[in-house]
Symmetry: C2
Subunit: 405 residues, 2 copies
């Protein structure tokens, strides 16, 4: 890559050419807020997806995975409902997810296997298919090349704000776009905990390359965030490539494509953390000096999920001892005598000794809402990793302890 320019643009998932979207209300949510989203490409195009690794997988996850396999990585549309996860719903749930694909296919005039399905909301409750049918009908009627914002609203459960992004990439290979939207783990009403991401591009990409690029992009973005260490029954990220830009990206351009996808996914992923339950601070956790990137990731994940670290940051407490203790128990190689902890620009521990005289500086830094912490594992290795998390507040407990009525 000699030239590479990535510019944020407006337009979300319909910013790339070849896509229309819609978001409508069909009454699944008692509040009357939008609850069905539809993303359609003009033709059946290359598609890729990554799914939750949870073994308790919701019906729409099973159906979408099956459709993507049967179609050989090709899709025409993605249909999504919010307000009901269609998870732990037995045989009826599978029939309902399949029917969502059939209804969408029949409206668009395509093979049902070319439709991907996602649901988010309450676990263990069945879909009201009369409502869903009306929702898909209305969404089809509302499809528009400027419908991205409506779609982004219709996938929300209790997210505090919609999450959209789009970028235009100028490169030696040509100029193309990537758009995306996501919903986070709101859980303000208990039993809603889905992370859904939807990404579009107008590059010309084979399904095989698309899948590899998506997996690479997700690793450093959606798979690098945590709100509370939980992984839902419905999590998935879908990617469609319309080819409308005419810019062809093959194996050789895989790093370019992954980079472009990451540029669209990162703000969505960080947005999910920012909108995390009870969150008041976004925390970037960096781990360096690890024996391998994998070790660094293990330590970063342990720190990002540690209730002691998250409560200390919530309270503005520069409690470096907790970071050392979590790094030490994370399973990553760790050498205490060479380890170091930095909170923002302030080094509080290095070469086995505390610098508590700098505590006040660190406390002042922690009063902000965008926090960076860095732990050097002290092995002298070049392994490094980055994760995003949020603080843990009493509000998180209140939200999740409330009786589900």
């Amino acid at each position: 890559m000699k030239t590479l320019d990535v510019q944020p643009i407006a337009g979300g998932i319909t910013a790339p050419g070849g896509f229309r979207a819609a978001g409508v209300s069909c009454g699944i949510k008692a509040s009357g807020e939008p609850d069905v989203a539809l993303i359609a490409s003009d033709d059946t195009v290359s598609a890729a997806a990554v799914f939750t690794t949870n073994l308790a997988q919701a019906a729409p996850v099973l159906v979408s995975r099956d459709h993507l396999e049967r179609s050989g990585g090709r899709a025409r549309a993605i249909v999504v409902n919010s307000g009901c996860a269609n998870a732990c719903t037995g045989a009826d749930g599978m029939a309902h997810a399949t029917e969502m694909a059939m209804l969408t296919a029949s409206a668009l005039g395509c093979d049902p296997a070319a439709v991907l399905v996602a649901s988010t909301g309450v676990i263990g409750v069945k879909l009201d298919m009369q409502k869903v049918e009306r929702g898909i009908h209305d969404a089809f009627g509302a499809l528009s090349s400027s419908g991205a914002a409506d779609a982004a609203r219709a996938i929300m459960t209790t997210d505090p704000f919609p999450k959209e992004s789009a970028v235009e990439i100028s490169s030696d290979a040509g100029t193309f776009r990537v758009g995306g939207m996501a919903k986070g783990s709101g859980m303000i009403e208990p039993m809603m905990a889905t992370m859904l991401g939807f990404v579009t591009t107008d590059a010309v990409v084979d399904p095989f390359v698309l899948q590899r690029a998506l997996r690479a992009a997700v690793e450093g973005t959606f798979n690098s965030i945590t709100v509370d260490g939980e992984c839902s029954t419905n999590d998935c990220v879908f990617l469609l490539a319309s080819g409308a830009s005419g810019v062809r990206l093959g194996e050789r351009e895989l790093p370019l494509l992954a980079h472009a996808l990451s540029a669209a996914c990162e703000p969505l992923a960080v947005g999910i953390v920012r909108g995390g339950e009870g969150a008041t601070k976004v925390v970037t956790v960096r781990v360096v000096g690890a024996r391998s990137d994998q070790d660094a990731r293990r330590a970063a994940r342990a720190i990002a999920n540690s209730p002691l670290v998250k409560t200390a940051i919530h309270g503005g407490d520069p409690n470096w001892g907790r970071l050392v203790a979590v790094a030490g128990r994370s399973g990553a190689a760790f050498t205490l005598d060479n380890a170091a902890v930095r909170i923002g620009p302030v080094e509080l521990f290095s070469d086995g000794s505390p610098h508590d005289e700098r505590s006040d500086d660190a406390a002042r830094y922690l009063a902000g809402s965008e926090i960076e912490v860095e732990v050097d594992l002290g092995t002298g290795g070049a392994g490094r990793a980055r994760m995003w998390t949020c603080d843990l507040s009493a509000e998180y407990v209140r939200i999740n302890a409330e009786y589900r009525t």
Copy 2:
């Protein structure tokens, strides 16, 4: 074993013959509360220990491990201070822990390698050795065969109550006793998070058998509890066997010994959970129907550490969906269609279908303070595990978010 009777008795760590103990105050704690404990056997006897797996190990952990290796599993005494963890304190910390052993050895007239050392309290702060020296001197003077309760108080940091236990075992091998005391992860003052356990027995046991029996007993007791998934820099469990009962337990009696040790350790372990930060409920997590015991343990640990499960129980919400979701992501083999969830006596999910009509019964059960939840992983396997945890309350966040001043 034809006959086996396990009776709870009074007396804590001095209930078994051959031990004296003391707890005194030397001023490490500003509050003036007791902060030095000493356990001494009449002779140098068989000893065993398990230490934190955290790679950031405190000086007393390193010193005790070294002493136990050099002595070949023999010890005369254990000296403990609370109020300062002597962790992340560099070369001075090592010198101080070594000096604690030397001061104790010189009082008792034994080899310094026959003294084990433990510390608990604030991380990153050095010990005031003048105070510690006075404490060890006073504790030696106060040693008594009825000093267990004083010792149990002197190892507390911010535990809400002391934790002692003792049992008398009548078996074919003879009648012997096991006593114990422990301190939990109080953390009411941030940066204190040590789990320490001290166990004594008057059985005659070789160090090799003693170590294996301790490891087995710890696995099902201290290693089966969690308050917040954290593992400290100072955790350890020590065991001394005086032989005063004359009852000889060899390899053949290893199951009997492990059983006896477990009987003394279980109430201490559950006591740590009961005194967990902000805890209002003790929760027993049972996992059955796993492919292996290891898988069951993996799922039980994930459930016991899940903030979503712990907040739901805190709120009295029979949210079985969270238990399914955590079991599914735990890494254990899991078959949703055959899985089941029980909250107390109430089955809320089985064979892939919810029984939400029983929610009110489960909610009534959850209003209690001693909770059992059981998840069947649905694999048809015989693997099972049990763990204890507590609920997650807003008080936990308040305690741990408070600025360390």
